[in-house]
């Protein structure tokens, strides 16, 4: 099967790992520093882009308030991007399936269904935006448990049944969401759609704070399992004979990936594409070793989503575009470019052993 687009794979040395991760870290840090300074301001000559001075960070500076409106958004984008790309990378390896991503396992559909239900039941007026975020998290966790129970055979989580269970749950939740929308009034529906498109506008610093802890723990957990993911590339039976506790590893990685996705969705709704494309792009550039690929995917996801979100709020003055839509529209040409480049180097899809 395979079908992974993969760059050259040489042995991972401490030096290579340190250099590449440090490079990604510096790039992501630069983006994180610059992104909140960029914005659109209105003036006599119409709207134009403006780059604030970092001095605005100081309390009492003229643009201090504006900066602090943007910072939670950028932080949210970094945290969510890292979570989605990290989870996507791990799921692709766990399921040995290039189409795997956070949405394949039905987790985000389950979260969306719960959020739609929360809006329909008026939880938002009762608990504020946190009500929807909380509902989404509960929905993600619930779907995770159902998919896990459906897919599990003995101690194992076979990739094929996992994908099947995930896609089935995804279909069910999407259809249920549509039915709920059909019975809702106009305001509710527009609210639901806005949530389902994914966006950072309403993100508050406290929400990011709450999500950062589980996401941070999850990301570290995935990196700890990088070696197991490498071994699982040879299939569960070979991995087991190499010494991997396959059943436990599958369950832990599936659990961590779900936690990451659930937390990310709770922050800003479902944002597609990052979890699928960032790991693929980096695998094509850096090779398949998860000890390198997982951390760089996380940093790459953070950087890409921060850039996309900055564009989403600056491309059209006064209109904040849904971040999820921007990631897809911008990411596809980029990914096609990598695909074409790799094809020219005769590293084709489906060249697995």
């Amino acid at each position: 099967m395979t079908g992974f687009l993969t760059g050259s794979a040489t042995r991972l040395t401490r030096r290579r790992l340190a250099l590449v991760v440090a490079g990604c870290l510096i790039l992501t840090a630069l983006i994180a520093l610059i992104a909140p300074l960029i914005g659109i301001v209105g003036g006599r000559g119409g709207w134009h882009l403006e780059l604030l001075s970092p001095r605005a960070l100081a309390a009492g500076a003229p643009d201090h308030a504006i900066l602090w409106v943007r910072i939670p958004r950028v932080l949210a984008a970094l945290v969510v991007g890292a979570a989605l790309a990290g989870a996507g990378c791990a799921l692709q390896a766990l399921l040995r399936n290039p189409l795997a991503e956070p949405f394949t396992l039905g987790i985000s559909s389950g979260a969306s269904l719960a959020a739609v239900l929360a809006i329909r039941l008026g939880l938002e007026s009762a608990f504020g935006a946190a009500g929807i975020g909380g509902a989404a998290l509960v929905g993600a966790a619930g779907t995770l448990v159902i998919v896990w129970r459906l897919a599990r055979i003995g101690k194992h989580l076979p990739p094929a049944t996992l994908v099947l269970a995930g896609v089935t749950m995804s279909m069910f939740c999407s259809s249920a969401s549509v039915l709920i929308q059909y019975t809702s009034d106009f305001t509710e529906v527009s609210h639901m759609l806005q949530w389902m498109l994914g966006g950072m506008e309403t993100v508050r610093l406290t929400t990011v704070g709450y999500a950062a802890l589980p996401i941070g723990v999850g990301l570290v957990g995935l990196v700890i399992y990088a070696r197991e993911l490498n071994a699982l590339a040879a299939g569960p039976e070979v991995a087991a004979s190499l010494g991997v506790a396959v059943g436990r590893t599958q369950t832990v990685i599936f659990g961590i990936a779900s936690l990451l996705v659930g937390a990310a969705i709770a922050v800003c709704g479902p944002i597609g594409f990052i979890g699928l494309i960032v790991p693929h792009a980096l695998r094509a550039l850096l090779g398949p070793d998860h000890r390198l690929l997982l951390p760089t995917s996380m940093l790459g996801g953070a950087a890409v989503l921060a850039v996309c979100d900055t564009l989403a709020r600056t491309v059209i003055p006064l209109h904040h575009l849904p971040t999820g839509a921007v990631t897809a529209v911008l990411g596809v040409p980029f990914f096609v470019a990598i695909l074409v480049g790799q094809k020219q180097r005769a590293l084709l899809w489906g060249r697995g052993a």
């Binding site: 099967m1 042995r11 004979s241 060249r351």
Partner: protein, 255 residues
Amino acid sequence: MAWLQLSDVDVALGDRDVVRGVTAEVAAGELVVIVGPNGAGKTTLLRAIAGLIAPRAGAIRVLGHDPVRAPRRVIARELAYLPQSYELAFPFAVEEVVLLGRYARQRGLGLASDDDLAAATRAMAACDVAHLAQRRFDELSGGEARRVIIAQALCQGARCLLLDEPTAGLDPAHARAIFAMLRAQCDAGAAAIVVTHDLDLALRHGGAMWLIADGQLAARGDPAQVLATAATRDAFGLAIHVGALPSGAPFAVPA
């Protein structure tokens, strides 16, 4: 003491008993070859010894461990298993594929230590794949890939080797070299069980032969004698002729 012990082992796949009542043992230094017709239960028996499938009845011990219940990491240090088919989802470089064999002996991120690299170099040399070290796994031929996987199993540094048709797809020279290498490993103290359809190589290099027919251990002993039994003829549906070349080396062909 026997390193591998099987006492009255039954293994079921679904409702069907695929292996029935197998009792046998393998001691240090022994190279056991398992022969038998397709579907006789050879692979299932090997998987049970590797702890990948639990026997329905009976007991299996690998250096005293129950391979199903012991932690995988402990079993992997004592026993390496080469499956019949091998599919790698990501095309690692050959050297990395071989180094995956060190999993059970590494900690943390598992960046290769000098010991790991030395073990990989030895294993690749033994399987004649050292020159492929930097090649992508998906760009190898079938036989080259097979030798790389054998190197991965060797690289584990386990005392017991279970190999399921290691020479399938190998050219005659490499097939012979792999068996000679296994013989050398056993002479150096390892124990190996090799499933093979290459009766000729089994005859030449096997210390003992087990004939598996219809899930049962139908005959065991000296390879030349086992091949000459009525049980072998019945199992394959044809007689196996064992002869000697002018050099004195034995050969086996279907009569």
